[in-house]
Structures are given as C-alpha cells and as structure tokens.
Amino acid sequence: MSAENAAPKILVFSTDIISDPGIDQAGLLKLHYSPSVYTISLPCSSGIKPRWIMRAFEKGFDGVFIAADGHECSYSPKCSEYTNKIIEQTQEMMREKNINPKRIRMAALCSVCAESFVSHMGNFSKILAELGSIQSEISVSQ
C-alpha cells in the first residue's frame, strides 16, 4: 500500500531553537495535523536557499512553509526582512516555472506556538487543496 491520502504535501523549514520546538509541542499535545507535513530544521530561516525550495516542488511537494523566528531570531534583527527576500526571490523562480507563488508561505512561530502551527497547517492545506496538486503545474520527478 502506498501513500493514498491526497492531502497536499507540505515541506516546512523550521529553526532549531525556536520554531522546531513549537512544532514538537504540537505533537506533544497530540494536536493533530496532516501527516503529509515534513519538516527540515535549520539554524535560521534566513539561511534557506531558494534552490532547496525549488527542489521540493520538483519532488512533488505542493507547498513550502517557512516557520520563521520573526523578531525572536537570535542571529539577526533583520531576519524577517532577509527571509522575505528569499521568498520573493523564490517566487520569481516559481513564476518562471509556472508554479503558483501562493505555494510558499511564511509565519513567525515561537517555541510554544503549537496551536498556531496546527492552524497554519490547516489553512495552508486548504489553500493548497484549492490550487490542486503541484503536478498540475509542473512535472514531478521521483
């Protein structure tokens, strides 16, 4: 049996110290969210390379969510600004490939923001479901 649930596949980039613990909290409290959500944790959201996000789309992810630290980032006060720039840059690349720029999203998440993470996943899943599978926009390699 292979993955049959048609829920949109989401890749989350989280941060080691702040937002990933928040996502852990959601599990701890058994606040359920879509099992098609996968997470990669990094030191800082401003270190995400657009090519990684593009890779995710090429590999069949329907959306990419960046769980940033916002003003709690311990590396740079301009973190949100930098992360936003990365998103804009990626959206540029997405447009070139006819990928809907709405497939990428960012929100600041703190280390106890369990509920907020779950509701973000719910909302984002809804948006992505409306957009349809990524395969409707590009061909996906495996």
């Binding site: 909290q25 409290l29 003003h71 709690e72 280390s111 106890v112 923001c113 369990a114 509920e115």
Partner: protein, 445 residues
C-alpha cells in the same frame, strides 16, 4: 567531572533564571557547580510567564534553551526536588547537607510520555497554573519542565497504581526513599528568588472571595501559549472578558496591612516598590489588546515606573495602542449582586479629587514582590544578614553588590531585592564574577 563527586567549586541554590545564569557562567569558566532546586523542575517564575517585556519575546523561547543548557552542562550537576538542610562553614569550606525528596519516578527511566497522567484517576490542583485548572496526581509539572519527567504528589495519590501498569520503562517506584547527601563547596550563590504577595491579605480587594479578581501571575498564565483555557476567559464562568482592570501596587508601597505581625509568609507591610508590576501590567495589557481586540483595558496606577532600557518607549506604545491609564488608588472592590459576577471598583480620581465607582468584568491585581529569607536559616554557624524587608543584604551594595555578610557566599537575582529578568540576569553574572574571583584566590593562596 564525575557527577557524584562530593566537592564542588560552587553550590548554587535556586534554579530560576538567576540561578541558571550564575551556574552557567561559572560552569563556562570550568568550575564545577552543584545546582540545587527545591521544585521538580528548574525554571523559576520566568518559565511560567507568557511573553516578557520590554522586547515581548516569548518567555519559553528564552528560558527553555537555557534550562536545557543548564541541565546538560558537563560542569553542572543538577539536583531537583531537593532541600538544603544545613550549611556549615569550616576552614574556608562549606559543608552542605541535602535531602533529595522522592518523586516516585526514576528520572533516568521516565521518557516523559505522559501515559501515566492519562490513566491517573485522581484530579488535583495545578499549582503551575495557579489552580485555574486541574491536573493529575502523577504529572509532568508542566509541558516545558526540565528534567522532563513525571512526579507523584504522594499526599494526594490514592495508590491505585494504574500508572505503574501503563509505564513501559517501569519508571514508577512507590518504594523510593528520600536520599541524604553530604557535599562540600568552596563557595555558595544564593538565588532563591522571591515570593509573590498573597492578595488575600488585602481583604478589601476580594481576592480568593470573588473568582474574577485574579492576580497577575494568573493572567500571565491565561495569556501564555501553554495556557489553561486555550483562550483568555474569566475563571468565574468562562466568559470572554471585555472590560479588564489592573490594580497596580497591590501589596506594594503599602504599610497599611492590618495585623501584619500575626500573619506569616506572604503578607507583610511592604513599604517598597516591587519594581516589576508596572511593566508586567503594561506588557499584559499589550498582549490582551492582541488577544481580545474588542476589550477595554484600564490600568489604575500611582506612578508608572517604566525606568529600564526601552521601558518608557514600551509604556508609550501601550498608550498609543489605547490602553487606558488612570491615576488613582483603588480603595475597595466588590462583586455586583446581580449574578453577573462583575466587579465594582471604588477609587479616588486624583485629577478631580472625586470618589468614583466603575464596573469591570475581570480585575487583575498586580501583586508585588516579597522576600523569602528562609534559606538563611540553613547557615548554622555563620549568619547571612538580611535587610529590614527580609531580602539578602548586600555587604557592599555599590561596589560589590553580590557579596553577602559571609565571605564566599554571594547573592543573585531577586533574592536580594525586587528585580526584573534583565536585572536578575546581570546580577547573576556579577555573582558569578565575584565567586570566580574568590575561588581563584582560594586556590592561589
């Protein structure tokens, strides 16, 4: 360091933010530290808070990494649920007698899965949430606890042992006994923090009598992401409050408490200012404006003491957001007798000189900081001096603020007087610096 070594460079008493910070500073200097905390988890008051002024960052995001750094630092041995019984200074060395109280759960086996908590049928008060909700007799103290392990409140446990059956790693052990330890340390840092004023001792405010008169710690819990009600509701009936009052200086700047001698811990005439209440109230007001956009928030104050770095700006921001600041001292709070559980506040409006009465549906008492000097009694052959208010007396406040009356004993955080988090952290750094200089000279001589 062998963790069961019995000689340490420093004993740090209290695992709040100040104690953690002192312990970490010393450990980073390669000194061996024993950190003793009386509760089942370190974290102190700060881990209970929502967001913290003046930067409004989430308290948990700042404390939890520090807590885990403290718990796993190779130079720190952490003992929780532990009492300090006696400290004797002899020949320049402190001889310390400790008791580790049983939690009835083996820390090294418990995985923090909370299955026991699920099956436990005994519901008790949740102290961490100021009893606004219940918890089980076997519980992890709170979701961010460190060490993250269950503990049994043995007094309330009904010994049904359902938990024993579900615990896969067999971590639960009802035969666990108190453990006595004797250790030595070259220096001691007292970081035992403070007590909150128990507002029952101002009966005219009705705390403990009217469910919708709560204290500020309860409000910090209500707005924290790990909050008990999942949203800000008032305790009397789960209503979403829309007209909240803050009463500043509740139990501070006040020498009018009747019969102050007769009551122990938690009530006293407290002439000083608690230094944190103005700011935490402004913080909560800002957070409430976000959580309840429709609510009116009024802060009744004597002076707004927004003195620290960025604080005045924070105060101005709250004014700009529409928080209502009224200068006036609340004389009395009564509950309306129409069944609404709303409250009536009587106060003198100083700008007009008139007595006024106003209605609010939730009242927060911004309770103050009282000293907790009980630790000084454990020093049996020398005396740690305290000031008139019971705070640890600094031996030379201006030049060596962390020194106490005993050479080799230092003080950090709110144990020496009211302090907010940034000040507590700075004082903890100073205590570490002075202790390190002292230890270094011991070995040099």
């Amino acid at each position: 360091m062998s963790l069961d070594s019995t000689t340490y460079d420093a004993l740090v008493i209290g695992g709040g933010i100040a104690g953690q910070e002192s312990a970490l500073n010393l450990a980073e200097m390669n000194y061996k530290v024993l950190l003793v905390e009386k509760d089942v988890s370190i974290g102190g008051k700060m881990i209970q808070l929502s967001k913290v002024f003046p930067t409004l960052d989430c308290a948990a995001c700042i404390t939890t990494p520090k807590m885990s750094e403290t718990a796993r630092h190779p130079n720190i041995r952490l003992l929780t649920n532990t009492d300090v019984n006696e400290i004797v200074k002899d020949n320049g060395l402190f001889h310390i007698n400790l008791t580790v109280r049983p939690t009835y759960v083996h820390a090294d086996l418990c995985t923090g899965c909370q299955l026991c908590e699920e099956v436990c049928p005994k519901v008790i008060e949740d102290k961490y949430n100021s009893n606004m909700v219940g918890q089980k007799a076997i519980s992890i103290a709170f979701s961010l606890a460190n060490p993250k392990m269950a503990a049994i409140d043995i007094e309330q446990c009904i010994k049904c042992k359902k938990c024993v059956k579900v615990c896969a790693p067999n971590a639960i052990d009802f035969d666990m006994q108190p453990q006595n330890l004797r250790v030595e340390a070259k220096s001691v840092v007292i970081a035992t923090g403070f007590n909150l004023f128990d507002a029952k001792h101002k009966p005219q405010y009705g705390f403990g009598q009217y469910p919708n008169v709560i204290n500020a710690m309860q409000m910090d819990r209500l707005i924290a992401p790990t909050r008990p009600y999942n949203s800000v509701l008032r305790p009397s009936d789960g209503k979403v409050p829309d007209n909240i009052a803050y009463v500043l200086c509740a139990g501070s700047r006040d020498s009018s408490i009747e019969n102050a001698e007769a009551c122990t811990n938690g009530c006293a005439n407290n002439p000083i200012c608690s230094q944190i209440c103005c700011m935490y109230s402004i913080k909560q007001a800002q957070l409430l404006m976000g959580a309840l956009p429709m609510a009116d928030i009024t802060i009744y104050y004597m002076d707004i003491r927004a003195f620290g770095k960025g604080y005045e700006e924070f105060y101005m921001q709250a004014k700009g957001m529409g928080v209502n600041f009224v200068k006036g001292k609340i004389a009395k709070i009564t509950e309306k007798n129409d069944g609404s559980a709303d409250l009536v506040l009587r106060y003198e409006d100083v700008t007009t000189g008139k007595l006024k009465e106003v209605k609010h549906d939730l009242v927060v008492l911004s309770v103050g900081v009282l000293s907790d000097s009980s630790i000084t009694q454990t020093f049996t052959n020398q005396k740690v001096e305290i000031d008139n208010l019971g705070f640890i007396q600094s031996a030379h406040e201006l030049v060596s603020p962390a020194k106490t009356s005993i050479e080799g004993v230092f003080v950090a955080g709110a144990a020496s007087g009211p302090k907010d988090i940034p000040d507590s952290i700075l004082s903890a750094g100073a205590a570490a610096s002075e202790a390190a200089g002292y230890i270094n000279n011991l070995s040099a001589n």
